[in-house]
Symmetry: C2
Subunit: 332 residues, 2 copies
DNA sequence: CAAAAAAACGATTGCGCAAACGTTTCGATG
DNA sequence: CATCGAAACGTTTGCGCAATCGTTTTTTTG
């Protein structure tokens, strides 16, 4: 691997001149600049960004710490963040915590050792040691999706609006008995969606039986079991609201296992749109979270935070979009 | 940010002792080791991996250069690679080339500047400048999915086997007129699947009209248009084989637009399984590519390559799995 | 035409670390 | 009790670079 001093020697100039030519950090006469560029080409010099980072104490890297990168919702967010960071000349370290807080802390420590300029985090559940760590170490950080700590900038979907629009849609179609399949307990998204559901239903003057609210679904299997439980009730719901894509897959599975038709026998709708939704039956009525916007805004905020550590914190709630299809019909 | 020499001062030992304690690279008496560890805790020392990398000329990083990270197929591969690298103590830089060869070259140069230990690449189409670059610069590299250059280690699906199994399945169901919606022209996957399709059909003694082979579908929109063209034929195919997930989405869209039922009016099957496939109609018969295995093997090969630059190159073809569902019925 | 200012470039340091090399101490050995 | 060897630790260098500080040459100005 060649170094800057080899370039200097080949070009017959000093290392500082080479450096200044390559970084355009001070005037160098065209003749010398040409010599330098020729020497670079000739010996095939590739600047060493590691040495550069050490000297500049800035790496141009961002840690992206996601709780489950295989989840298509997060895939979309990762994609948007990568695109935005790339546009800004930053490069992304991708890490999957697998929803394990200990692993999350370990990964964040590792990223910190690598001196990432900042971190974008979809935090796991409690305990929130990693957030304490980030705060204490003063690492620029933006929280995405799960917004639970206003010591940091945060970007996510407006869950209250999302649920409210879904409930509106349900009530318009005369549904009164609505079951909801929620996600992992403890996540702020779960908490917010639960609260929003209760509130929105209450506003419509509808009382929700305790049994209609299914919390603690960590996997599609959990969601399947929960949905079965809902449908076994003597007075089962006429509609099921799946609060995320895992819940939806699980719910659809249960519905399929029971041989029910959607929306004839049961209405279904939920949160998290996906690309196939338009071409398969049942065509699911879904709230699309604004993944692109979330990703872009998260990158924006992080870059701003890296730029000035003492700017005021921001929490940004972006509006989801209801895609009305046919899985939610009129109540019987 | 604290440094190793501050730790040394706080512990009353030399920097080398601190270094050796932290890296366990030589014997240090328990007393001094304890002093060091206490000093580390007290002043909150975080080793600087950038400086370490510079000194060791090895970064413990891997570049993951993917042509479209939002594609669920690649998402799965990314997930598997991240998991395997993480297990081996490597961390992954994620880059999206958006199938642009120039961008690909630029990203690879950038990664090389950052002195990644190796690169895993899902290459874009021609021109293959980035491969030449990687080869000339002697960067450890593994190609995934698109295998077209045996200067490198390569891992992918056995496309010939995949197509053969699909054709077998079609022929078992008495289909003779089979249209195929292929992906981007120039990709080795496209070429291989085209060849395999011709060969497998020929083996069955079935002649494939030129119009049944639709090449050059760069997007779902292309695939939709191509499928429409296939279905407008005076003697249209009785089955459509979508050679990847984008082609499938496009095909399904066209079929839906024409109001056709699957499999009653037209049979459909393809490559690339997805999580929802079991719970929606039509339940698609699909070849699942072994994404987990591909990712794991790619990381394996890369680590081996990093370990010894002169080991023989390997090309690994992993077996896909046919998931028979109901979208492909008996031919009329 | 001397003095000052500006233009162009070079020598050197230090970023934080690993480890090669060097030093001290102390017990074993003849 | 000199000598040797090993155990335990310290001093120092150099990884490749950016940029500070310094030097030389050229131009401007009174």
């Amino acid at each position: 691997m060649t170094t800057i001093s080899e370039v200097a020697k080949a070009a017959g100039v000093s290392v500082s001149t080479v450096s200044h030519v390559l970084n355009k950090t001070r005037y160098v006469s065209p003749e010398k600049a040409k010599l330098v560029m020729e020497a670079v080409d000739e010996i095939g010099y590739i600047p060493n960004a590691v040495a550069r980072s050490l000297k500049l104490s800035s790496t141009g890297t961002v840690g992206l710490v996601i709780s489950a990168i295989s989840n298509p919702y997060f895939s979309d967010i990762i994609c948007a963040i990568e695109a935005e960071c790339s546009k800004r000349g930053l490069i992304v370290f991708l890490c999957d915590t697998q929803d394990d807080p200990d692993r999350e802390l370990e990964l964040i420590r590792h990223l910190h050792q690598r001196r990432v300029d900042g971190i974008i985090l979809a935090a796991s559940g409690a305990p929130k040691k990693s957030l304490d760590y980030l705060f204490e170490c003063d690492v620029p950080c933006v929280l995405v999706d799960r917004l639970s700590d206003d010591r940091f900038d945060q970007v996510g979907t407006d869950n209250t609006a999302a649920i409210r629009m879904l409930v509106d849609h349900l009530v318009t179609l005369h549904h009164q008995r609505v079951g909801i399949i929620l996600g992992q307990p403890g996540f702020s998204t779960t908490v917010e969606r639960t609260e929003a559901f209760r509130a929105a239903m209450a506003e419509k003057g509808i009382e929700v039986p305790h049994a209609f609210i299914s919390n603690g679904n960590r996997s599609t299997a959990d969601a399947t079991a929960s949905t079965h439980r809902l449908l076994e009730l003597t007075e089962p719901p006429t509609a099921i609201l799946a609060s995320n894509n895992l819940a939806m897959i699980g719910a659809m599975r249960a519905i399929r296992e029971r041989g029910l038709r959607v929306p004839a026998d049961i209405s279904v709708l939920g949160i998290d749109d996906f690309e196939w939704a338009d071409y398969f039956e049942p065509r699911l009525t879904l709230m699309a979270q604004p993944c692109d916007e979330i990703g872009r805004k998260a990158a924006d905020l992080l870059i701003a935070r890296i730029g000035s550590k003492h700017r005021p914190r921001e929490t940004v709630r972006l509006s989801p979009v209801l895609r009305v299809r046919e899985s939610c019909g009129e109540a019987a």
